[in-house]
Protein backbone atom coordinates (compact mmCIF):
# COMPACT_ATOMS: atom_id res chain seq x y z
CA UNK A 1 0.00 0.00 0.00
CA UNK A 2 1.09 3.52 -0.71
CA UNK A 3 0.72 4.45 2.95
CA UNK A 4 3.04 1.67 4.08
CA UNK A 5 5.63 2.65 1.48
CA UNK A 6 5.56 6.19 2.75
CA UNK A 7 6.01 4.94 6.29
CA UNK A 8 8.99 2.88 5.33
CA UNK A 9 10.52 5.87 3.60
CA UNK A 10 10.15 8.17 6.60
CA UNK A 11 11.36 5.93 9.38
CA UNK A 12 15.00 5.78 10.31
CA UNK A 13 16.64 2.57 9.11
CA UNK A 14 16.86 1.18 12.62
CA UNK A 15 13.15 1.68 13.24
CA UNK A 16 11.78 -0.01 10.16
CA UNK A 17 9.25 -2.67 10.76
CA UNK A 18 11.03 -5.02 8.40
CA UNK A 19 14.54 -4.92 9.81
CA UNK A 20 15.56 -7.90 7.76
CA UNK A 21 15.37 -5.99 4.50
CA UNK A 22 18.90 -4.70 3.98
CA UNK A 23 18.70 -1.54 1.96
CA UNK A 24 21.65 -0.55 -0.17
CA UNK A 25 23.36 2.73 0.65
CA UNK A 26 22.80 4.85 -2.43
CA UNK A 27 22.79 8.37 -3.86
CA UNK A 28 19.37 9.00 -2.36
CA UNK A 29 20.80 8.46 1.13
CA UNK A 30 23.55 10.98 0.41
CA UNK A 31 21.00 13.54 -0.78
CA UNK A 32 18.85 13.06 2.30
CA UNK A 33 21.93 13.13 4.47
CA UNK A 34 22.80 16.54 3.09
CA UNK A 35 19.22 17.79 2.96
CA UNK A 36 19.56 20.16 5.94
CA UNK A 37 22.84 21.62 4.72
CA UNK A 38 20.99 24.53 3.02
CA UNK A 39 19.70 25.51 6.46
CA UNK A 40 23.30 25.97 7.55
CA UNK A 41 23.92 28.04 4.42
CA UNK A 42 20.92 30.18 5.28
CA UNK A 43 22.26 30.56 8.82
CA UNK A 44 25.64 31.62 7.43
CA UNK A 45 23.96 34.23 5.24
CA UNK A 46 21.88 35.60 8.15
CA UNK A 47 24.95 35.56 10.41
CA UNK A 48 27.07 37.47 7.89
CA UNK A 49 24.28 40.03 7.44
CA UNK A 50 24.06 40.44 11.19
CA UNK A 51 27.84 40.84 11.52
CA UNK A 52 27.79 43.36 8.69
CA UNK A 53 25.06 45.30 10.45
CA UNK A 54 27.03 45.38 13.72
CA UNK A 55 30.19 46.49 11.92
CA UNK A 56 28.26 49.22 10.08
CA UNK A 57 26.88 50.46 13.39
CA UNK A 58 30.35 50.60 14.85
CA UNK A 59 31.67 52.35 11.77
CA UNK A 60 28.84 54.90 11.93
CA UNK A 61 29.59 55.53 15.61
CA UNK A 62 33.19 56.37 14.83
CA UNK A 63 32.44 58.16 11.56
CA UNK A 64 32.99 61.55 13.15
CA UNK A 65 36.36 60.48 14.46
CA UNK A 66 37.22 58.92 11.12
CA UNK A 67 36.50 62.19 9.39
CA UNK A 68 38.69 63.99 11.88
CA UNK A 69 41.53 61.51 11.45
CA UNK A 70 41.25 61.31 7.66
CA UNK A 71 44.41 62.25 5.88
CA UNK A 72 46.45 62.24 9.08
CA UNK A 73 49.38 59.98 9.72
CA UNK A 74 48.73 56.93 11.85
CA UNK A 75 50.08 56.93 15.37
CA UNK A 76 52.08 53.97 16.64
CA UNK A 77 50.74 52.98 20.03
CA UNK A 78 51.82 50.58 22.77
CA UNK A 79 49.81 49.36 25.72
CA UNK A 80 51.55 49.10 29.07
CA UNK A 81 49.29 47.12 31.43
CA UNK A 82 46.37 45.27 29.90
CA UNK A 83 44.38 44.08 32.91
CA UNK A 84 40.73 44.97 33.38
CA UNK A 85 41.28 48.72 32.94
CA UNK A 86 43.70 48.27 30.07
CA UNK A 87 41.10 46.15 28.35
CA UNK A 88 38.49 48.90 28.76
CA UNK A 89 40.87 51.41 27.17
CA UNK A 90 41.76 48.99 24.38
CA UNK A 91 38.08 48.40 23.63
CA UNK A 92 37.64 52.16 23.21
CA UNK A 93 40.79 52.55 21.11
CA UNK A 94 39.82 49.76 18.74
CA UNK A 95 36.91 51.94 17.67
CA UNK A 96 39.20 54.84 16.85
CA UNK A 97 40.77 55.20 13.41
CA UNK A 98 44.33 56.33 12.87
CA UNK A 99 45.98 54.10 15.48
CA UNK A 100 48.45 51.32 14.75
CA UNK A 101 49.05 49.06 17.72
CA UNK A 102 52.65 47.87 17.88
CA UNK A 103 53.30 46.43 21.31
CA UNK A 104 51.70 45.11 24.47
CA UNK A 105 53.55 44.97 27.78
CA UNK A 106 52.22 43.14 30.82
CA UNK A 107 53.94 41.03 33.44
CA UNK A 108 51.05 38.52 33.33
CA UNK A 109 52.34 36.99 30.11
CA UNK A 110 50.29 33.85 30.51
CA UNK A 111 46.94 35.62 30.54
CA UNK A 112 46.60 39.41 30.10
CA UNK A 113 49.43 39.81 27.63
CA UNK A 114 48.45 36.78 25.57
CA UNK A 115 44.79 37.81 25.47
CA UNK A 116 45.58 41.37 24.32
CA UNK A 117 48.13 40.23 21.72
CA UNK A 118 45.69 37.65 20.33
CA UNK A 119 42.89 40.21 20.20
CA UNK A 120 45.02 42.76 18.38
CA UNK A 121 46.26 40.14 15.93
CA UNK A 122 42.65 39.33 15.17
CA UNK A 123 42.31 42.98 14.21
CA UNK A 124 45.36 42.50 11.90
CA UNK A 125 47.83 44.46 14.00
CA UNK A 126 51.38 43.11 14.11
CA UNK A 127 52.04 43.44 17.82
CA UNK A 128 54.88 42.19 19.96
CA UNK A 129 54.40 41.15 23.59
CA UNK A 130 56.78 42.22 26.37
CA UNK A 131 57.11 41.60 30.08
CA UNK A 132 59.55 44.44 30.82
CA UNK A 133 58.64 47.97 29.72
CA UNK A 134 62.30 48.95 29.30
CA UNK A 135 62.84 46.16 26.81
CA UNK A 136 59.74 47.36 24.95
CA UNK A 137 61.01 50.94 24.84
CA UNK A 138 64.44 49.71 23.61
CA UNK A 139 63.05 47.57 20.84
CA UNK A 140 60.02 49.55 19.71
CA UNK A 141 61.73 52.72 18.55
CA UNK A 142 58.87 53.84 16.31
CA UNK A 143 56.29 54.30 19.05
CA UNK A 144 54.53 57.65 19.21
CA UNK A 145 52.51 57.01 22.35
CA UNK A 146 52.18 54.64 25.28
CA UNK A 147 48.88 54.07 27.09
CA UNK A 148 49.57 53.08 30.70
CA UNK A 149 47.09 51.14 32.82
CA UNK A 150 49.34 49.44 35.35
CA UNK A 151 48.80 49.46 39.15
CA UNK A 152 49.13 52.95 40.67
CA UNK A 153 52.49 52.32 42.32
CA UNK A 154 54.07 51.65 38.92
CA UNK A 155 52.67 54.77 37.20
CA UNK A 156 55.51 57.14 38.08
CA UNK A 157 58.34 54.94 36.86
CA UNK A 158 56.49 53.75 33.78
CA UNK A 159 55.45 57.28 32.80
CA UNK A 160 58.83 58.88 33.44
CA UNK A 161 60.65 56.13 31.49
CA UNK A 162 58.26 56.45 28.54
CA UNK A 163 58.46 60.24 28.47
CA UNK A 164 62.25 60.13 28.62
CA UNK A 165 62.22 57.65 25.76
CA UNK A 166 60.45 60.34 23.73
CA UNK A 167 56.91 58.92 23.84
CA UNK A 168 53.69 60.76 24.59
CA UNK A 169 51.87 59.16 27.51
CA UNK A 170 48.26 58.57 28.51
CA UNK A 171 48.37 57.38 32.13
CA UNK A 172 45.39 56.08 34.01
CA UNK A 173 44.42 57.85 37.18
CA UNK A 174 45.38 57.88 40.03
CA UNK A 175 48.41 59.62 38.68
CA UNK A 176 50.51 57.97 41.39
CA UNK A 177 49.97 56.54 44.86
CA UNK A 178 52.50 59.06 46.21
CA UNK A 179 52.86 62.80 45.65
CA UNK A 180 56.58 62.36 45.02
CA UNK A 181 55.74 59.98 42.20
CA UNK A 182 53.13 62.33 40.75
CA UNK A 183 55.55 65.26 40.99
CA UNK A 184 58.24 63.33 39.09
CA UNK A 185 55.71 62.72 36.30
CA UNK A 186 54.90 66.43 35.97
CA UNK A 187 58.59 67.31 35.91
CA UNK A 188 59.37 64.63 33.31
CA UNK A 189 56.58 65.91 31.05
CA UNK A 190 57.95 69.44 31.33
CA UNK A 191 61.56 68.42 30.75
CA UNK A 192 60.85 66.27 27.73
CA UNK A 193 58.14 68.46 26.18
CA UNK A 194 56.10 65.33 25.57
CA UNK A 195 52.37 65.18 26.28
CA UNK A 196 51.07 63.54 29.43
CA UNK A 197 47.34 63.06 29.76
CA UNK A 198 45.96 61.73 33.06
CA UNK A 199 42.94 59.43 32.75
CA UNK A 200 40.27 61.52 34.47
CA UNK A 201 38.05 60.74 31.52
CA UNK A 202 35.06 62.84 32.65
CA UNK A 203 37.12 65.90 31.65
CA UNK A 204 36.47 64.94 28.01
CA UNK A 205 32.93 63.60 28.43
CA UNK A 206 30.70 65.75 26.21
CA UNK A 207 28.00 66.01 28.89
CA UNK A 208 30.44 67.22 31.52
CA UNK A 209 32.01 69.64 29.04
CA UNK A 210 28.58 70.94 28.07
CA UNK A 211 27.70 71.52 31.74
CA UNK A 212 31.03 73.19 32.52
CA UNK A 213 31.20 75.44 29.49
CA UNK A 214 27.57 76.23 28.77
CA UNK A 215 25.36 75.58 31.79
CA UNK A 216 27.70 76.70 34.57
CA UNK A 217 29.89 79.03 32.49
CA UNK A 218 27.86 80.84 29.86
CA UNK A 219 24.32 80.47 31.28
CA UNK A 220 25.22 80.26 34.98
CA UNK A 221 22.08 78.27 35.56
CA UNK A 222 22.85 77.21 39.13
CA UNK A 223 23.64 80.72 40.33
CA UNK A 224 26.11 80.60 43.19
CA UNK A 225 27.10 77.02 44.04
CA UNK A 226 27.34 76.62 47.80
CA UNK A 227 27.07 72.89 48.41
CA UNK A 228 28.18 69.82 46.52
CA UNK A 229 27.82 66.17 47.27
CA UNK A 230 28.86 63.07 45.45
CA UNK A 231 28.93 59.35 46.03
CA UNK A 232 29.83 55.99 44.63
CA UNK A 233 27.87 53.27 46.35
CA UNK A 234 29.48 50.04 45.36
CA UNK A 235 28.15 46.57 46.00
CA UNK A 236 30.22 44.01 47.84
CA UNK A 237 32.04 41.81 45.38
CA UNK A 238 34.34 38.85 45.97
CA UNK A 239 38.08 39.36 45.62
CA UNK A 240 39.44 38.84 42.15
CA UNK A 241 40.73 35.35 41.50
CA UNK A 242 42.73 33.80 38.69
CA UNK A 243 42.77 30.50 36.84
CA UNK A 244 45.44 28.43 38.65
CA UNK A 245 46.98 27.20 35.43
CA UNK A 246 47.79 30.81 34.49
CA UNK A 247 49.30 31.84 37.85
CA UNK A 248 52.43 34.01 37.66
CA UNK A 249 55.54 32.32 39.16
CA UNK A 250 56.33 33.78 42.58
CA UNK A 251 59.81 35.01 41.63
CA UNK A 252 58.34 37.15 38.83
CA UNK A 253 55.66 38.48 41.17
CA UNK A 254 58.33 39.51 43.69
CA UNK A 255 60.44 41.08 40.95
CA UNK A 256 57.55 43.44 40.17
CA UNK A 257 56.63 44.27 43.76
CA UNK A 258 53.85 41.78 44.56
CA UNK A 259 53.90 39.36 47.47
CA UNK A 260 51.39 36.92 46.01
CA UNK A 261 49.01 36.31 43.17
CA UNK A 262 46.13 37.40 45.42
CA UNK A 263 47.87 40.71 46.05
CA UNK A 264 48.65 41.11 42.36
CA UNK A 265 44.99 40.64 41.44
CA UNK A 266 43.65 42.83 44.26
CA UNK A 267 46.40 45.45 44.46
CA UNK A 268 43.91 48.30 44.81
CA UNK A 269 43.27 47.28 48.43
CA UNK A 270 46.93 47.29 49.53
CA UNK A 271 48.84 50.18 51.05
CA UNK A 272 51.93 50.97 49.01
CA UNK A 273 50.32 49.65 45.82
CA UNK A 274 47.02 51.52 45.42
CA UNK A 275 44.89 53.93 47.37
CA UNK A 276 41.60 52.14 48.07
CA UNK A 277 38.12 53.10 46.84
CA UNK A 278 38.51 56.82 47.66
CA UNK A 279 41.31 56.89 45.10
CA UNK A 280 39.89 54.36 42.62
CA UNK A 281 36.37 55.77 42.55
CA UNK A 282 36.36 59.07 44.44
CA UNK A 283 39.23 60.51 42.45
CA UNK A 284 37.08 60.72 39.31
CA UNK A 285 34.34 62.62 41.07
CA UNK A 286 36.38 64.82 43.40
CA UNK A 287 38.24 65.92 40.26
CA UNK A 288 34.87 67.20 39.01
CA UNK A 289 34.26 69.06 42.30
CA UNK A 290 37.48 71.03 41.71
CA UNK A 291 36.79 71.55 38.01
CA UNK A 292 33.21 72.76 38.33
CA UNK A 293 33.93 74.93 41.38
CA UNK A 294 36.97 76.40 39.64
CA UNK A 295 39.04 76.00 42.80
CA UNK A 296 41.11 73.63 44.85
CA UNK A 297 39.96 72.93 48.40
CA UNK A 298 41.33 74.75 51.42
CA UNK A 299 40.56 72.05 54.02
CA UNK A 300 39.46 68.44 54.32
CA UNK A 301 37.94 66.42 57.13
CA UNK A 302 37.45 62.70 56.69
CA UNK A 303 36.34 59.57 58.43
CA UNK A 304 36.96 56.10 57.13
CA UNK A 305 37.83 52.54 57.96
CA UNK A 306 37.81 48.95 56.83
CA UNK A 307 34.33 48.42 58.15
CA UNK A 308 33.15 45.56 56.01
CA UNK A 309 36.13 43.61 54.72
CA UNK A 310 38.90 41.80 56.53
CA UNK A 311 41.64 44.41 57.20
CA UNK A 312 44.31 41.72 56.72
CA UNK A 313 43.48 41.48 53.02
CA UNK A 314 41.90 44.92 52.57
CA UNK A 315 44.37 47.36 54.01
CA UNK A 316 42.72 50.44 52.55
CA UNK A 317 39.41 51.78 53.85
CA UNK A 318 36.29 50.30 52.27
CA UNK A 319 34.15 53.10 53.71
CA UNK A 320 35.13 56.75 53.47
CA UNK A 321 33.23 59.98 54.09
CA UNK A 322 35.01 63.24 53.40
CA UNK A 323 34.08 66.91 53.61
CA UNK A 324 36.02 69.49 51.62
CA UNK A 325 35.92 73.23 52.18
CA UNK A 326 36.48 75.56 49.24
CA UNK A 327 37.04 79.27 48.84
CA UNK A 328 35.67 79.87 45.38
CA UNK A 329 35.64 83.21 43.53
CA UNK A 330 32.03 83.62 44.62
CA UNK A 331 32.49 82.65 48.25
CA UNK A 332 32.73 79.59 50.44
CA UNK A 333 31.45 76.18 49.34
CA UNK A 334 31.43 72.76 50.95
CA UNK A 335 31.50 69.36 49.30
CA UNK A 336 30.70 66.00 50.81
CA UNK A 337 31.83 62.76 49.24
CA UNK A 338 31.22 59.17 50.26
CA UNK A 339 32.26 55.82 48.92
CA UNK A 340 31.13 52.76 50.75
CA UNK A 341 30.98 49.02 50.38
CA UNK A 342 27.58 47.50 51.01
CA UNK A 343 25.29 47.47 48.01
CA UNK A 344 25.12 49.49 44.84
CA UNK A 345 21.73 51.16 45.22
CA UNK A 346 21.62 54.82 44.12
CA UNK A 347 24.89 54.26 42.27
CA UNK A 348 27.21 57.15 41.60
CA UNK A 349 26.71 60.82 40.79
CA UNK A 350 27.80 64.35 41.58
CA UNK A 351 25.24 66.88 42.81
CA UNK A 352 25.88 70.64 42.61
CA UNK A 353 23.45 72.93 44.42
CA UNK A 354 23.31 76.66 43.74
CA UNK A 355 20.88 79.35 44.80
CA UNK A 356 19.09 79.11 41.42
CA UNK A 357 19.21 75.44 40.61
CA UNK A 358 20.68 71.98 41.04
CA UNK A 359 22.67 69.79 38.68
CA UNK A 360 22.84 66.03 39.19
CA UNK A 361 25.25 64.40 36.80
CA UNK A 362 27.10 61.16 36.26
CA UNK A 363 29.14 59.46 33.59
CA UNK A 364 26.52 56.75 33.26
CA UNK A 365 23.92 56.89 30.52
CA UNK A 366 21.62 54.69 32.59
CA UNK A 367 21.71 56.21 36.07
CA UNK A 368 21.68 59.94 36.85
CA UNK A 369 22.82 60.90 33.36
CA UNK A 370 22.12 64.59 33.84
CA UNK A 371 19.19 66.34 35.47
CA UNK A 372 18.73 70.01 36.29
CA UNK A 373 16.25 71.50 38.71
CA UNK A 374 15.36 75.21 38.42
CA UNK A 375 14.28 76.84 41.63
CA UNK A 376 10.85 78.47 41.12
CA UNK A 377 12.30 81.80 42.29
CA UNK A 378 15.13 81.75 39.73
CA UNK A 379 14.91 83.65 36.41
CA UNK A 380 13.31 81.58 33.61
CA UNK A 381 15.47 79.28 31.50
CA UNK A 382 13.44 79.81 28.32
CA UNK A 383 16.42 81.24 26.42
CA UNK A 384 18.55 78.20 27.25
CA UNK A 385 15.75 75.82 26.32
CA UNK A 386 15.42 77.58 22.95
CA UNK A 387 19.19 77.32 22.43
CA UNK A 388 19.04 73.61 23.22
CA UNK A 389 21.25 73.86 26.31
CA UNK A 390 18.62 72.17 28.49
CA UNK A 391 15.44 70.27 27.73
CA UNK A 392 11.96 71.71 28.26
CA UNK A 393 10.81 71.18 31.85
CA UNK A 394 9.20 67.88 32.65
CA UNK A 395 6.53 67.21 35.22
CA UNK A 396 8.35 67.09 38.49
CA UNK A 397 5.52 67.21 41.00
CA UNK A 398 5.42 63.96 42.88
CA UNK A 399 2.17 62.60 44.24
CA UNK A 400 2.22 60.46 47.36
CA UNK A 401 1.32 56.83 46.64
CA UNK A 402 -1.43 56.94 49.22
CA UNK A 403 -3.82 59.64 48.07
CA UNK A 404 -5.32 59.94 51.54
CA UNK A 405 -2.18 61.48 53.08
CA UNK A 406 -2.24 65.17 53.93
CA UNK A 407 0.80 67.16 52.80
CA UNK A 408 2.10 70.00 54.93
CA UNK A 409 1.27 73.33 53.25
CA UNK A 410 4.74 74.65 54.10
CA UNK A 411 6.50 72.14 51.84
CA UNK A 412 8.53 73.86 49.10
CA UNK A 413 7.04 74.06 45.64
CA UNK A 414 8.76 71.39 43.53
CA UNK A 415 11.35 72.86 41.16
CA UNK A 416 11.08 72.35 37.40
CA UNK A 417 13.03 69.37 36.18
CA UNK A 418 15.12 69.57 33.00
CA UNK A 419 17.41 67.11 31.29
CA UNK A 420 20.93 67.81 30.09
CA UNK A 421 20.41 66.94 26.42
CA UNK A 422 23.83 65.42 25.78
CA UNK A 423 24.26 61.69 25.30
CA UNK A 424 27.52 59.76 24.83
CA UNK A 425 27.12 56.74 22.57
CA UNK A 426 30.78 55.74 22.69
CA UNK A 427 32.58 53.94 25.52
CA UNK A 428 33.14 56.34 28.42
CA UNK A 429 36.92 56.53 27.90
CA UNK A 430 36.83 57.12 24.16
CA UNK A 431 36.52 60.94 24.11
CA UNK A 432 39.42 61.32 26.55
CA UNK A 433 41.66 59.02 24.56
CA UNK A 434 40.59 60.79 21.37
CA UNK A 435 41.53 64.12 22.95
CA UNK A 436 44.97 62.67 23.77
CA UNK A 437 45.61 61.42 20.23
CA UNK A 438 44.21 64.63 18.69
CA UNK A 439 46.58 66.60 20.92
CA UNK A 440 49.52 64.56 19.62
CA UNK A 441 48.37 65.42 16.09
CA UNK A 442 48.19 69.07 17.09
CA UNK A 443 44.47 69.48 16.53
CA UNK A 444 43.44 69.73 20.20
CA UNK A 445 44.73 70.63 23.64
CA UNK A 446 44.92 68.10 26.47
CA UNK A 447 41.86 68.17 28.71
CA UNK A 448 43.74 66.75 31.69
CA UNK A 449 47.46 67.53 31.46
CA UNK A 450 49.91 66.50 34.16
CA UNK A 451 49.44 69.68 36.21
CA UNK A 452 45.66 69.17 36.47
CA UNK A 453 46.09 65.49 37.35
CA UNK A 454 48.57 66.53 40.03
CA UNK A 455 46.10 68.96 41.63
CA UNK A 456 43.53 66.17 41.82
CA UNK A 457 46.07 63.75 43.25
CA UNK A 458 46.91 66.26 46.00
CA UNK A 459 43.19 66.74 46.73
CA UNK A 460 42.37 63.04 46.89
CA UNK A 461 45.44 61.57 48.60
CA UNK A 462 44.93 64.03 51.47
CA UNK A 463 41.71 62.21 52.40
CA UNK A 464 43.59 59.09 53.48
CA UNK A 465 45.97 61.34 55.39
CA UNK A 466 43.05 63.07 57.15
CA UNK A 467 41.54 59.73 58.16
CA UNK A 468 44.78 58.66 59.80
CA UNK A 469 45.29 62.08 61.42
CA UNK A 470 41.71 62.05 62.73
CA UNK A 471 41.51 65.82 62.32
CA UNK A 472 40.75 68.59 59.82
CA UNK A 473 43.73 69.14 57.53
CA UNK A 474 44.46 72.25 55.53
CA UNK A 475 45.90 72.59 52.04
CA UNK A 476 48.48 75.24 51.26
CA UNK A 477 48.07 76.87 47.85
CA UNK A 478 51.63 75.94 46.90
CA UNK A 479 50.90 72.26 47.58
CA UNK A 480 48.98 72.14 44.32
CA UNK A 481 51.88 73.45 42.25
CA UNK A 482 54.99 71.70 40.97
Amino acid sequence: MAGEDEKADADPPGQREDESVEKKFDRRDVLRGLSTLPALGLFGYAWSRERGYQQARRAAASAGNAAAAAGQAELNVALLGVGAQGEVLLDAMLRMPGLRFRAVCDIWKEYNQRRAVNLLRKYKFEVNGYEDHREMLDKEQDLDAVVIATPDFWHAQHTVDCLRAGKHVYCEKEMSNTLEGARSMVLAARETGKLLQIGHQRRSHPRYRHCHEKLLGEARLLGRIVTVNGQWNRAVSPDLGWPERYAIPSDRLRQYGFKSMAQFRNWRWYKGLGGGPIVDLGSHQIDIFNWFLGANPSHVTASGGTDYHDPATHEWYDTVMAIYEYETKEGPARAFYQTQTTNGSQGYFENFMGDQGTLVISESEANNPGLLYRDPNAPGWDEWIRKGYVSAPGLQERKPEDEAVVLDVRESVSPDQHRVPVVLRDPYHQPHLQNFFDSIRGTAKLHCPAEVGYETAVTVLKVNEAIEAKRRLSFRAEEFRV
Partner: protein, 164 residues
Protein backbone atom coordinates in the same frame (compact mmCIF):
# COMPACT_ATOMS: atom_id res chain seq x y z
CA UNK B 1 4.71 3.27 16.31
CA UNK B 2 6.29 4.46 13.09
CA UNK B 3 6.06 8.07 11.93
CA UNK B 4 4.63 9.29 8.64
CA UNK B 5 6.92 11.36 6.35
CA UNK B 6 4.97 14.50 7.27
CA UNK B 7 5.41 13.84 10.97
CA UNK B 8 9.10 13.14 10.52
CA UNK B 9 9.57 16.23 8.31
CA UNK B 10 8.02 18.34 11.04
CA UNK B 11 10.47 16.95 13.56
CA UNK B 12 13.37 17.64 11.20
CA UNK B 13 12.20 21.24 10.88
CA UNK B 14 11.89 21.44 14.68
CA UNK B 15 15.42 20.06 15.04
CA UNK B 16 16.89 22.54 12.55
CA UNK B 17 15.16 25.49 14.24
CA UNK B 18 16.41 24.51 17.69
CA UNK B 19 19.86 23.95 16.20
CA UNK B 20 19.78 27.41 14.63
CA UNK B 21 18.95 28.91 18.03
CA UNK B 22 21.80 27.04 19.78
CA UNK B 23 24.26 27.87 17.03
CA UNK B 24 23.53 31.59 17.20
CA UNK B 25 23.61 31.61 21.02
CA UNK B 26 27.04 29.97 20.89
CA UNK B 27 28.50 32.12 18.12
CA UNK B 28 27.23 35.37 19.56
CA UNK B 29 28.93 34.54 22.87
CA UNK B 30 32.13 33.50 21.10
CA UNK B 31 32.28 36.78 19.21
CA UNK B 32 31.48 39.01 22.20
CA UNK B 33 34.83 40.03 23.73
CA UNK B 34 34.96 39.21 27.42
CA UNK B 35 31.60 37.42 27.48
CA UNK B 36 30.96 35.62 30.75
CA UNK B 37 28.12 33.61 32.25
CA UNK B 38 28.86 35.22 35.60
CA UNK B 39 25.96 37.71 35.57
CA UNK B 40 23.47 35.01 34.64
CA UNK B 41 24.77 32.57 37.26
CA UNK B 42 24.66 35.20 39.99
CA UNK B 43 20.95 35.70 39.24
CA UNK B 44 20.22 32.11 40.21
CA UNK B 45 17.28 31.35 42.49
CA UNK B 46 15.72 28.16 43.74
CA UNK B 47 17.03 24.89 45.11
CA UNK B 48 20.27 24.90 43.06
CA UNK B 49 21.08 28.59 43.51
CA UNK B 50 24.13 27.98 45.69
CA UNK B 51 25.60 25.60 43.11
CA UNK B 52 25.24 28.09 40.25
CA UNK B 53 26.44 31.04 42.30
CA UNK B 54 29.40 28.95 43.42
CA UNK B 55 30.33 28.47 39.75
CA UNK B 56 30.43 32.24 39.29
CA UNK B 57 32.49 32.77 42.42
CA UNK B 58 35.37 30.44 41.48
CA UNK B 59 37.36 31.86 38.54
CA UNK B 60 38.73 28.43 37.58
CA UNK B 61 35.26 26.96 37.38
CA UNK B 62 33.81 30.06 35.74
CA UNK B 63 36.47 30.04 33.05
CA UNK B 64 35.65 26.38 32.25
CA UNK B 65 31.89 27.03 32.37
CA UNK B 66 32.32 29.93 29.95
CA UNK B 67 34.31 27.86 27.46
CA UNK B 68 31.95 24.89 27.71
CA UNK B 69 28.99 27.18 27.25
CA UNK B 70 30.29 28.99 24.19
CA UNK B 71 31.73 25.98 22.37
CA UNK B 72 29.09 23.57 23.63
CA UNK B 73 26.19 25.64 22.36
CA UNK B 74 27.92 26.09 19.01
CA UNK B 75 28.69 22.37 18.61
CA UNK B 76 25.20 21.31 19.66
CA UNK B 77 23.73 23.83 17.23
CA UNK B 78 25.82 22.51 14.36
CA UNK B 79 24.93 18.92 15.26
CA UNK B 80 21.21 19.66 15.27
CA UNK B 81 21.16 21.71 12.08
CA UNK B 82 23.20 19.17 10.13
CA UNK B 83 21.69 16.10 11.77
CA UNK B 84 25.16 14.98 12.75
CA UNK B 85 25.38 12.79 15.88
CA UNK B 86 21.81 13.96 16.42
CA UNK B 87 21.08 11.91 19.53
CA UNK B 88 24.28 13.05 21.24
CA UNK B 89 23.61 16.66 20.25
CA UNK B 90 19.99 16.59 21.41
CA UNK B 91 20.90 14.85 24.70
CA UNK B 92 23.62 17.44 25.35
CA UNK B 93 21.25 20.25 24.38
CA UNK B 94 18.59 18.87 26.68
CA UNK B 95 21.10 18.70 29.54
CA UNK B 96 22.32 22.27 28.97
CA UNK B 97 18.87 23.75 28.71
CA UNK B 98 17.63 21.95 31.82
CA UNK B 99 20.61 23.54 33.59
CA UNK B 100 19.50 26.95 32.30
CA UNK B 101 16.00 26.25 33.54
CA UNK B 102 17.20 25.14 36.98
CA UNK B 103 19.46 28.18 37.26
CA UNK B 104 16.59 30.65 36.93
CA UNK B 105 13.35 28.71 37.40
CA UNK B 106 10.17 30.76 36.98
CA UNK B 107 8.72 29.61 40.26
CA UNK B 108 6.21 31.57 42.31
CA UNK B 109 7.91 34.29 44.32
CA UNK B 110 11.16 34.52 42.30
CA UNK B 111 11.92 37.77 40.50
CA UNK B 112 14.80 38.25 38.07
CA UNK B 113 16.36 41.35 36.59
CA UNK B 114 17.43 39.50 33.44
CA UNK B 115 15.24 40.61 30.57
CA UNK B 116 12.32 38.39 29.69
CA UNK B 117 9.86 39.11 26.92
CA UNK B 118 6.85 37.21 28.26
CA UNK B 119 5.08 36.04 31.38
CA UNK B 120 5.91 32.65 32.81
CA UNK B 121 4.71 30.49 35.64
CA UNK B 122 6.75 27.33 36.19
CA UNK B 123 6.83 26.69 32.44
CA UNK B 124 9.06 28.97 30.42
CA UNK B 125 10.61 28.81 26.96
CA UNK B 126 13.63 26.93 28.28
CA UNK B 127 11.39 24.15 29.48
CA UNK B 128 9.46 24.12 26.21
CA UNK B 129 12.70 23.94 24.22
CA UNK B 130 13.90 21.15 26.52
CA UNK B 131 10.72 19.19 25.82
CA UNK B 132 11.12 19.79 22.09
CA UNK B 133 14.69 18.46 22.32
CA UNK B 134 13.38 15.38 24.09
CA UNK B 135 11.16 14.76 21.05
CA UNK B 136 14.16 15.19 18.76
CA UNK B 137 16.18 12.86 20.97
CA UNK B 138 13.78 9.93 20.76
CA UNK B 139 12.86 10.19 17.09
CA UNK B 140 16.34 9.87 15.54
CA UNK B 141 15.56 12.33 12.80
CA UNK B 142 19.20 12.54 11.78
CA UNK B 143 18.88 9.13 10.18
CA UNK B 144 16.06 10.43 7.98
CA UNK B 145 17.42 13.83 7.00
CA UNK B 146 20.91 14.57 8.21
CA UNK B 147 24.54 13.55 8.06
CA UNK B 148 23.75 10.65 10.40
CA UNK B 149 22.18 8.91 7.42
CA UNK B 150 25.46 9.07 5.51
CA UNK B 151 27.55 8.13 8.56
CA UNK B 152 25.20 5.24 9.32
CA UNK B 153 25.27 4.09 5.69
CA UNK B 154 29.05 4.21 5.47
CA UNK B 155 29.46 2.33 8.75
CA UNK B 156 27.05 -0.37 7.57
CA UNK B 157 28.88 -0.65 4.29
CA UNK B 158 32.19 -1.08 6.11
CA UNK B 159 30.68 -3.59 8.52
CA UNK B 160 29.08 -5.77 5.79
CA UNK B 161 32.25 -7.48 4.45
CA UNK B 162 33.19 -8.42 8.01
CA UNK B 163 29.77 -9.95 8.57
CA UNK B 164 30.15 -11.86 5.33
Amino acid sequence: MALSPTQMATIVVLRVLIGWHFLYEGLSKLTTPGWSASGYLLQSRGPFASLFRGMAADPNVLSTVNQLNMWGLTAIGLGLVLGCFTRLASAAGLFVIVLFYLCTPPFVGYFYSIPTEGSYLVVNKNLVEAAALAVVLVTRSGLVAGLDRIIHGLLRRRARPAEA
